[in-house]
C-alpha cells in the first residue's frame, strides 16, 4: 500500500515551485552586472579622488572634469570631439558611461583600499584617478593586481610610468615632460641674454615633491646647469623662513618650486617678508595652479611662473576647448583648470578605448588603450595628440609655461601658444 499517495501531487507542486523560483532567480541574475557584463547598457567607471582632506578643492575640481566628459559622451553635443555627437558609446549599442566615485581622502592607503572596494564589488570596467601622485601610485598598483585598467590624467610624478605596469595609462604630461618644457623656456630666455647658470629647488617632502626634484636635477645636469640649492619642507610645516633663508644664501638664478596651496601661499608671504625674490620662480603647478592661491596672495605673487598642462588662453585657440570650458563654467560655476582639463581628457580617452574595444572586458579595454591614437585637434589640450608608449605614458603630451602678470596667468612659452612676453626678473612684475 502506498501510504504517501496523497503527497504525490503536493510534492510535485512543491518541486515545480522550487524549480520555477530557481529559474526566475537565474534570469534575474543574468541581467545584473558581473565582472564582465558584455550586454549591460551601462559601463561603470570607478573614479577615485581626494574629495575630503587638504586637497579636496583640487579633488572636486578633477571630479567635475571627469563628470563633464561622462556627460559629453552620454549626451549629444555638436562638438569636434570623439563620442560627442552620439549619445553614449555607439560601439556598445549606445551604452552610457556611469561614474562611481570613491574618496581617497588624499591618503595612499585609502586610495588602494577604495580600488579594492569598488573593483571587487563587481561591474567596474576601469578606474580613473587620483590627483596626488602618491595616491595614484598605490591605487594603480592595486588595480594592476586586480587586472583592471587605470587611466590617469592629472598626476605628474615620473615614477608612475617607470614601473613597467601593464594596466596603467597616463594621458597627461609627466614631470619630466613639464621639466623639459621649462628647461626649453630657460634656454630661450638665455638666448635673449638673461643670466641662467644656477638652479635651486624648493620642494614639499612627498612623492610629488621628491620625484619632481629628481627630474629637475637630471635635466639640469643634461643642460649644463648647476643645482646650487635643494631645500625641502614638511607638507605641514608652519614656518618656511629657514628654508627661504637657505635659498637666499645660495642665490640661484632660477628657483623651481613644488608645493601645494597652503605652502605656496606661505612661501610667497615669506619671500615678501624677507624681501627676497629669485630672478625667476618656476613652479610645478599644484598649489600655484589653485585659484585660491591667486586670491590668497594677490600682488605679492606677480612674476611667479608655473608649468601648466592647459590654460584658459589655450581655449581661445581651439573651439572645442572653448566650448568645453564654457560648459564647465556654466555647470560648476567655476573656471576649468589644468587639472579638470586633464581629467576630462583622460575620461574621454578611456571612453574612446572602450568604444574601440566594443567590450567592457578589462582585457579588451587595455588592449584598445595601448593602441589608441587621438589626433591633436580631437582633444582640448595643447598636445600633439594621445598615443601611449610601452610604459603607458602619452608621449605626445606637452606643457606650457605661464606667468602671473597683473594677477592673471598668461602663457609665455612655447611661442605657438604664448600670448605675451615673459617678465624677467620676476621683481619687474611686482613693481608695477
Amino acid at each position: 500500500m502506498r501510504h504517501n499517495e496523497g503527497q504525490g501531487p503536493v510534492r510535485t507542486q512543491a518541486t515545480i515551485a522550487l524549480l520555477a523560483s530557481i529559474a526566475i532567480g537565474l534570469a534575474g541574475c543574468g541581467s545584473s552586472t558581473g565582472g564582465s557584463a558584455d550586454q549591460s547598457d551601462e559601463v561603470k567607471i570607478a573614479g577615485l579622488w581626494p574629495l575630503s582632506g587638504s586637497n579636496a578643492t583640487q579633488g572636486n575640481d578633477v571630479l567635475h572634469g571627469a563628470e563633464l566628459a561622462v556627460e559629453v559622451v552620454n549626451g549629444v553635443y555638436d562638438l569636434d570631439l570623439p563620442l560627442a555627437r552620439e549619445a553614449g558609446l555607439p560601439g556598445l549599442g549606445g551604452a552610457k558611461l556611469s561614474l562611481v566615485t570613491g574618496d581617497t581622502q588624499g591618503k595612499p592607503e585609502v586610495g588602494a583600499s577604495e580600488v579594492d572596494r569598488l573593483v571587487t564589488g563587481g561591474g567596474i570596467t576601469a578606474v580613473v584617478g587620483s590627483y596626488q601622485s602618491g595616491v595614484t601610485l598605490t591605487a594603480s598598483q592595486r588595480a594592476e593586481r586586480l587586472g583592471v585598467p587605470f587611466v590617469n590624467g592629472e598626476s605628474s610624478s615620473t615614477a608612475l610610468t617607470q614601473r613597467g605596469l601593464k594596466w596603467f595609462f597616463r594621458t597627461g604630461p609627466s614631470d619630466e615632460t613639464f621639466a623639459t618644457t621649462m628647461f626649453d623656456y630657460l634656454a630661450a630666455r638665455k638666448q635673449r641674454g638673461d643670466q641662467i647658470s644656477s638652479v635651486g629647488i624648493l620642494h614639499t617632502n612627498d612623492q610629488y615633491g621628491n620625484d619632481g626634484t629628481t627630474v629637475t636635477k637630471k635635466l639640469a645636469a643634461e643642460r649644463g646647469l648647476q643645482v646650487t640649492a635643494d631645500v625641502s619642507f614638511e607638507p605641514t610645516a608652519a614656518d618656511l623662513g629657514s628654508q627661504v633663508t637657505q635659498v637666499r644664501a645660495k642665490q640661484p638664478d632660477v628657483l623651481f618650486v613644488l608645493a601645494y596651496t597652503d605652502a605656496a601661499i606661505k612661501l610667497m608671504k615669506t619671500f615678501q617678508q624677507l624681501d627676497y625674490y629669485p630672478p625667476a620662480l618656476l613652479a610645478y603647478g599644484a598649489g600655484f595652479s589653485d585659484p585660491a592661491f591667486l586670491t590668497g596672495t594677490g600682488a605679492i605673487s606677480n612674476g611667479a611662473a608655473s608649468r601648466a598642462a592647459w590654460a584658459t588662453e589655450i581655449a581661445d585657440k581651439r573651439t572645442s576647448a572653448k566650448t568645453i570650458a564654457e560648459l564647465f563654467q556654466k555647470k560648476y560655476n567655476a573656471p576649468m583648470t589644468e587639472n579638470s582639463a586633464r581629467s576630462f581628457t583622460a575620461m574621454l580617452a578611456l571612453a574612446q578605448a572602450i568604444n574601440d574595444a566594443k567590450s567592457t572586458k578589462p582585457d579588451a579595454v587595455r588592449e584598445a588603450l595601448s593602441v589608441l591614437k587621438v589626433p591633436s585637434d580631437q582633444t582640448i589640450m595643447p598636445w600633439d595628440g594621445i598615443a601611449f608608449d610601452d610604459k603607458g605614458q602619452n608621449i605626445q603630451a606637452h606643457g606650457v609655461v605661464q606667468q602671473l602678470i597683473d594677477g592673471k596667468y598668461r602663457v609665455v612659452f612655447p611661442p605657438e601658444y604664448a600670448t605675451t612676453e615673459a617678465v624677467w626678473p620676476m621683481t619687474k612684475a611686482q613693481s608695477k
Binding site: G53, A237, A238, D262, I265, K269, F293
Partner: protein, 286 residues
Amino acid sequence: MTDLAQAVVNGILIGAVFALVAVGLTLIYGVMDIVNFAHGEMLMLGMYSSFFAWSLFGLDPLVSLPMTGLAIALTGALMYYGVIARVLGKSPLAQIIATFGVQVFLRGLAQFLWTPDTRTVTGPWADDLRIRVAGVVIGGPQLIMAIGAVVTTGAVALFMNRTRTGGAIRAAGEDPSAASLMGINPQRMYALAWVIAGAATGVAGGLLMNGYSSSPTAGVTFVLMAFVVVALGGFGSIAGAAVAGLLVGVAQGVVGLYAPSYTLAAALALYLLVVLVRPQGLLGTR
C-alpha cells in the same frame, strides 16, 4: 651668522604661537584628564570666524579678536555640555573616541559649509609692519602673532593661578568631591575650563589669520605641534607649554636651516630627549 639669527628669531616668534595653541589643550587635560582630539578643529573654527569677520564685515583680524575668542568660547561650552559631560567618568577610550568623533565631524562640517577652498585674509593691517634689526627681518604678521600669543598665554596663566575662579577650576580638577565640599560646583568649573580653553584657542585662530590661511584641514599643522608642546612642557602646565613652545619653535627654525626635511623629526626628537630624562615633561607634575 645673520641667517642663524634670523632662524632663531623666526623660531621664537612661531614658538610663541605654538605655545598659545597648546594652552587650550593643556588646560583641558590639566583640569579634566581629557585629551581633546578636536582641539585642532576648534582652532580651525577660530580661523574661519576671523576670516568671515573680514570677508563679510571688513574687520581686520586684530579688530575681530574679541569676537573670535567669544565664538570659540561658546563652541567650547557647546562641546562640554553636548559631548564631554556625557563621557566624564566613563572609560578613557570612550572619551578619546568622543573627541576624535567631534574632530571628524567638525572637519566634515567645515568642508560642507564652506567648501574645501583655502581662505586667506589679504592685506591685514599687520602686513604693513616690518622691522629690521641687525640684518634680521621681523615681519609684521609674525611679530603681531607672537605678541598676541604671549599676552593671551599670560592672561590665561594669570587667570588660572591668581584669581579665585581660576583657583576654583584647579581645585575642581584636582579633587571634585573636596571642591564641592568647599562650595565649588565641579561641573560648572569644567564648563568654564572649556570656555577659557575655547577663548584662548579662538584668539589663537584669529591671530593666525594674520599670516596663514584657513581651510577645513587647517588645524592639522598646528595641532600636531600643540601635542608635542603639551607633552614636552608637561600635561596641564601652562608655563610648561610656554617654555616648550619656544623650544620647539627654535629647534625647528635652526634645524630648518641645516636639514630642512627634518624639522618635524627635530621637534619629536626634542620631545623624546626630554621625556627620557623627565617623563612628566619639563614642568609637568605627574
